[in-house]
């Protein structure tokens, strides 16, 4: 596909979507409310004894295979076992993906993320804690915050009990064996199970607390089958789910009004991966806005509580390096390696797209770029931040998380392709509130990571999981506007044609990265639209007393 047509598509897409966003949120809603009220009325009159499954929103999901499965479970009184089945299925999928190769498998000089994680386990069990961040072995430097280091220590400690060879000091650099891989994969899975999967289970229970069980279970299954997280963590090899899971735990606590616990969980997420900073504006705004509503003394008391919790958590995490200024600076420098440049490889954000026309990296000094990108990021999440401070609702919090993480992904400094998992998380949490959009976003996000996955020969896993995701979410596109249907079809068409093109047509010699660039352009265009759309959505949300209900203004008005 030529870039010109692509740009034309993009233009038409953006123009159409701004019009469509308004249409999709305002025009169908009155219609929907009228129909739903009538259906609920008839059900209560005719079958007064039926289960509460026939609630207003239920018919919308009928074409979703997962929903039908959940209904079947409910009919057969399998609610209790269903969660275990879902978790077992999720683990099964992840394990099967894990049979495939990992990042840098057999790539001799430096290997990849797998080797980095393995090396950190080696480093943490063999070096004293204060040398973790100042080790000069010229191998993979530890560049994640302390919680990652602690987790590495646990994994390394247990692994060395099984086979000391895996983590022997220096001699194990680049060590590869099936058993070692098996052990590493299982550590990822165990942490994912303990933190991420459990958090999703609790999230669905809290988010759909006032909704039928079938919806709750549908959401659980869909969230657990989100392809991006599976491919990166179980395929590519990383521990993102620990951080994502801690963020979801924070959200869970916020949903239950346990704000102190929530902020502790969020600090732990920050202490695991600095990428959690993408979410921090929204969390900060939510907590601040909530404190403001407590009256003067209540506000101060709440802020003190939260502040103490945050300082204590972060302080404890960083305490081994607190003794001198140099030490803590060394840790911070390792964690924020600004020298790596504006972005890595081909990432689907604005800088990479602009770079095609203006060679930013050559033209500007790195300090200017940092300043400029930080300012741009700040500006782009500011509206959502202000709105959240003014109206700190629980639903608004999720939208705020989306908007701030998308802003960071699109505009901040030094972004990696994998960072799309961060905006994808809160969007996936809204899988039944914005079903079609969330499904489409995950398709696009997974596609944007394709160049990375192809490098690691995870294409088969990618095709299968993405295909499965598209298949199970087709049902979400039935009740949406024609425009969205068209966009999703167009997106699929572009994805399929790019994959086919890549398979059969070699890129011209002048542009060897043609497909990767096209991929990032297309995805970046989509993400910008999503940023605009979710900002719009956040501003049209209405504060509702019971969470998990009624989204738009007109709806609440009618039903109230």
């Amino acid at each position: 596909m030529a870039p010109t047509t692509l740009r034309a598509n993009k233009a038409s897409k953006s123009k159409a979507n701004t019009a469509g966003a308004g249409a999709s949120s305002s025009s169908p809603s009155p219609h929907r409310t009228t129909t739903t009220t009538t259906t609920s009325f008839t059900t209560t009159t005719t079958h007064s004894s039926t289960s509460p499954a026939t609630t207003p929103e239920a018919p919308k999901l009928k074409n979703l295979a997962v929903y039908r499965y959940a209904t079947w479970l409910e009919e057969n009184q399998l609610k209790k076992t269903a969660v275990w089945i879902a978790v077992a299925a999720a683990v099964l999928v992840r394990w099967t993906v894990g049979l495939g190769p990992y990042s840098g498998q057999g790539v001799s000089p430096r290997f990849g993320d797998y080797e980095a994680q393995r090396h950190w386990m080696e480093l943490t069990i063999h070096r004293p804690i204060r040398e973790w961040y100042s080790d000069k072995s010229k191998w993979w430097d530890l560049d994640y915050p302390p919680l990652t280091a602690y987790v590495s220590w646990i994994c390394g400690f247990l692994g060395a009990k099984i086979n000391p060879e895996w983590f022997a000091w220096e001699t194990s650099r680049g060590y590869e064996s099936t058993d070692a891989k098996l052990y590493m994969r299982s550590t990822v899975l165990v942490f994912e199970l303990l933190i991420y999967i459990s958090s999703i289970v609790v999230f669905t229970q809290r988010w759909f607390a006032h909704k039928p069980w079938t919806r709750q279970h549908t959401a659980l299954l869909l969230i657990l089958l989100q392809p991006g997280v599976i491919l990166i963590d179980s395929g590519h090899f990383q521990y993102n789910t620990v951080m994502l899971g801690l963020v979801v735990w924070a959200v869970n606590f916020f949903l239950g009004d346990q704000d102190v616990l929530g902020s502790v969980a969020f600090c732990l997420a920050l202490g695991f991966k600095q990428m959690a900073l993408y979410f921090s504006p929204a969390v900060f705004a939510y907590l601040l806005g909530k404190s403001f509503r407590q009256g003067f003394f209540g506000c101060i008391w709440k802020l003190i509580k939260l502040g103490v919790a945050v300082i204590l958590t972060l302080g404890l995490l960083f305490s081994p390096w607190m003794e001198s200024k140099e030490e803590i600076l060394q840790v911070v420098q390792r964690i924020f390696p600004v020298f790596r440049g504006l972005y890595q490889d081909k990432v689907a954000n604005i800088w990479c797209a602009v770079n095609i026309v203006i060679k930013l990296r050559e033209r500007f000094a790195i300090q200017d770029l940092i300043r400029f990108s930080t300012l741009a990021t700040l500006l782009s999440f500011l509206p959502s931040l202000v709105h959240l401070i003014a109206k700190p609702t629980k639903r608004g919090l999720i939208y705020g998380l989306i908007n701030s993480s998308l802003s960071f992904f699109l505009l901040s400094f030094q972004v990696h392709e994998k960072s799309i998992l961060l905006p994808a998380l809160p969007i996936t949490l809204l899988i039944l509130d914005e079903p079609a959009l969330a499904a489409l976003f995950n398709t696009l996000a997974t596609f944007s990571m394709f160049p990375l996955l192809r490098q690691e020969e995870l294409t088969m896993q990618y095709y299968v999981l993405l295909g499965f995701w598209v298949w199970i979410t087709t049902g979400t596109f039935n009740n949406v506007s024609t425009l969205l249907k068209f966009l999703s079809a167009l997106n699929l068409l572009v994805i399929v044609s790019m994959h086919l093109g890549e398979m059969f047509v070699a890129p011209p010699a002048r542009y060897p990265d043609l497909y990767a660039v096209l991929n990032s352009l297309w995805s970046a265009a989509g993400f910008v639209l999503y940023w605009a759309y979710f900002n719009y959505r956040q501003f049209t949300l209405v504060n509702t007393p019971k969470m998990g209900f009624r989204v738009t203004k007109s709806k609440t008005h009618k039903l109230a």
Binding site: Q77, W84, I85, L92, D179, M460
Partner: protein, 500 residues
């Protein structure tokens, strides 16, 4: 199939290229498996229609489609069983459709039966494992297709008048034609003895490398125990048992070779054949007396069991034959159960088709045989990365299908509710059966984890395999007894009802 493969990569089809594996080859072969399994999917769709399209019927379908045995054997171990079982189910569905027509002589009915027979003959030529159930097919087709069938048993006098020579010839000719087409080239090249030798490896020994979960596993296990008893304790001298020293090393190694027994008498191929036939005959007689589909499918199951349990050099995979046919039988019964499902009302005795409805006993037998059989398959997948997969697949299957079938059991109006008050899916299971189901967990934990941690990889390597197969064999034999008890008692009960 190899013709297509040549397009993808010509190296795949070179015969001398035995251990050739590249990623492309693996993908190609696996894709062919998945595509060929569409046949099974199609067959199951037909079955759904033929057996009465009830929502809960789908469970059985999915239980077959996502059968852990099939998934494991085909997609992990690599075989084309899904395709073959697809043909088998097609054939069975044809038989079912034929018998659901009224007993008047219609051409469609005979057409269906003929097609069923032809499909089965083709199946035999794909894989001779289906010989296990050939006797029931033979009995059923001979009786239902080649004789006049008025619904009642024929008196001895009218046997000859009821015989339909035209049908007999049609069936015979078509079956022979299929065999000729498949075996013809080999006959022409005079390779038949060699072919027969490959297909029927009587030289290979009584048990397969890992013991399949059958009688002989129990027999070998008993022998092992006797050996220990005889050699370690004075019991041997007391009973004057001789110990065959050469056997000591033979079975423990688990090689594909001749099996020798230390204490118990050696079993020969003739013995197994006679035993198999003896076990099959009762059900065959029952089918021949009254060729209803219920009886037919039941006898297919029982023949499969007989061959699996008593056959010579049975492979573990043969358990699939039992479980697949058994699930078709269960599907048939679910279809016959009145109001199965959520609103299952009173158990209606006036069953139009004369099919027996699903009983808890069937479900128990099915679940235990499946569980035992699939666990018996586990040793096929011995690498550590495969372990969680096999465990999870089997566990998910067991829970979903178990609780699904539990809902299919029609509720008795005046059953002792106090006893069944628990909502667990195992509520119909007796104490021993529950112990068996939960006993799997510690046994498998030992086999997969503890054993290696205690003894290392090389010492006593056969012990976990033996534990698995003996444990599975107990389950399979128990399930078989339970199922045959149901089969014979229900057919008797139906007969009684008729005579009244």
């Amino acid at each position: 199939m190899s013709i297509f493969a040549a397009y993808v990569d010509p190296k795949i089809v070179q015969v001398d290229n035995l251990n050739y594996d590249t990623l492309a080859t693996i993908y190609f072969q696996r894709t062919t498996v998945i595509i060929s399994e569409l046949v099974l999917f199609w067959a199951l769709q037909r079955m759904l229609v033929a057996m009465g399209n009830r929502p809960l019927q789908k469970i059985i379908n999915w239980s077959l489609m996502l059968n852990p045995g099939l998934l494991m054997v085909d997609n992990m171990h690599f075989q084309y069983n899904g395709f073959l079982y697809g043909i088998l189910v097609h054939s069975l569905v044809d038989a079912k459709q034929a018998s659901s027509f009224s007993s008047e002589i219609t051409s469609t009915r005979f057409g269906k039966l003929l097609r069923s027979g032809i499909l089965f003959a083709a199946l035999l030529n794909f894989k001779h494992i289906y010989l296990y159930i050939a006797p029931s097919y033979f009995a059923f087709l001979l009786r239902a297709y080649c004789f006049e069938n008025s619904g009642n048993s024929i008196r001895a006098r009218s046997w000859i008048s009821a015989f339909r020579p035209l049908n007999f010839v049609a069936l015979g000719v078509s079956v022979i034609a299929i065999f000729a087409a498949s075996l013809g080239p080999f006959v022409a090249m005079d390779q038949l003895p060699q072919l027969a030798g490959r297909l029927f490896p009587f030289k290979r020994g009584l048990t397969h490398s890992y013991w399949a979960a059958n009688f002989w596993a129990l027999y070998s296990f008993a022998d092992r125990i006797m050996i220990v008893l005889v050699s370690k304790t004075p019991l041997g001298q007391y009973f004057n048992l001789a110990l065959d020293e050469s056997a000591l090393s033979a079975t423990t190694r688990g090689l594909v070779g001749d099996t020798a027994f230390g204490v118990l008498p050696t079993v020969t191929a003739q013995h197994t054949l006679i035993l198999t036939v003896l076990l099959q005959i009762p059900s065959l007689i029952s089918v021949f007396r009254k060729p209803t589909f219920d009886r037919f499918i039941g006898s297919v199951v029982l023949s499969a069991f007989a061959s699996f349990l008593a056959g010579w050099h049975v492979h573990e995979k043969a358990i699939l034959l039992c479980t697949v046919t058994m699930s078709v039988a269960i599907a048939n019964q679910v279809g016959a159960s009145p109001n199965s499902g959520v609103n299952a009302g009173a158990f209606s005795t006036s069953d139009q088709k004369g099919s027996s409805a699903l009983t808890p006993r069937d479900v128990r037998a099915f679940m235990i045989v499946s569980l035992a059989g699939y666990i018996g398959l586990w040793p096929l997948f011995f690498t550590r990365p495969e372990t969680p997969i096999k465990v999870l697949i089997t566990a998910i299957w067991f829970v979903v299908v178990g609780s699904g079938l539990d809902q299919c059991i029609p509720k008795q109006p005046k059953s002792n509710d106090t006893l069944l008050s628990s909502k667990s899916m195992l509520r119909y299971f007796s104490l021993l059966e529950r112990l068996y189901v939960f006993g799997c967990i510690p046994v498998q934990i030992y086999v997969n984890i503890v054993h290696e941690a205690v003894f290392g990889q090389d010492r006593l390597a056969f012990l976990p395999l033996m534990m698995t197969s003996v444990y599975a064999a107990v389950g399979v034999v128990y399930g078989w007894l339970l199922y045959s008890a149901t089969y014979f008692s229900s057919s008797k009960a139906l007969d009684k009802k008729k005579t009244r």
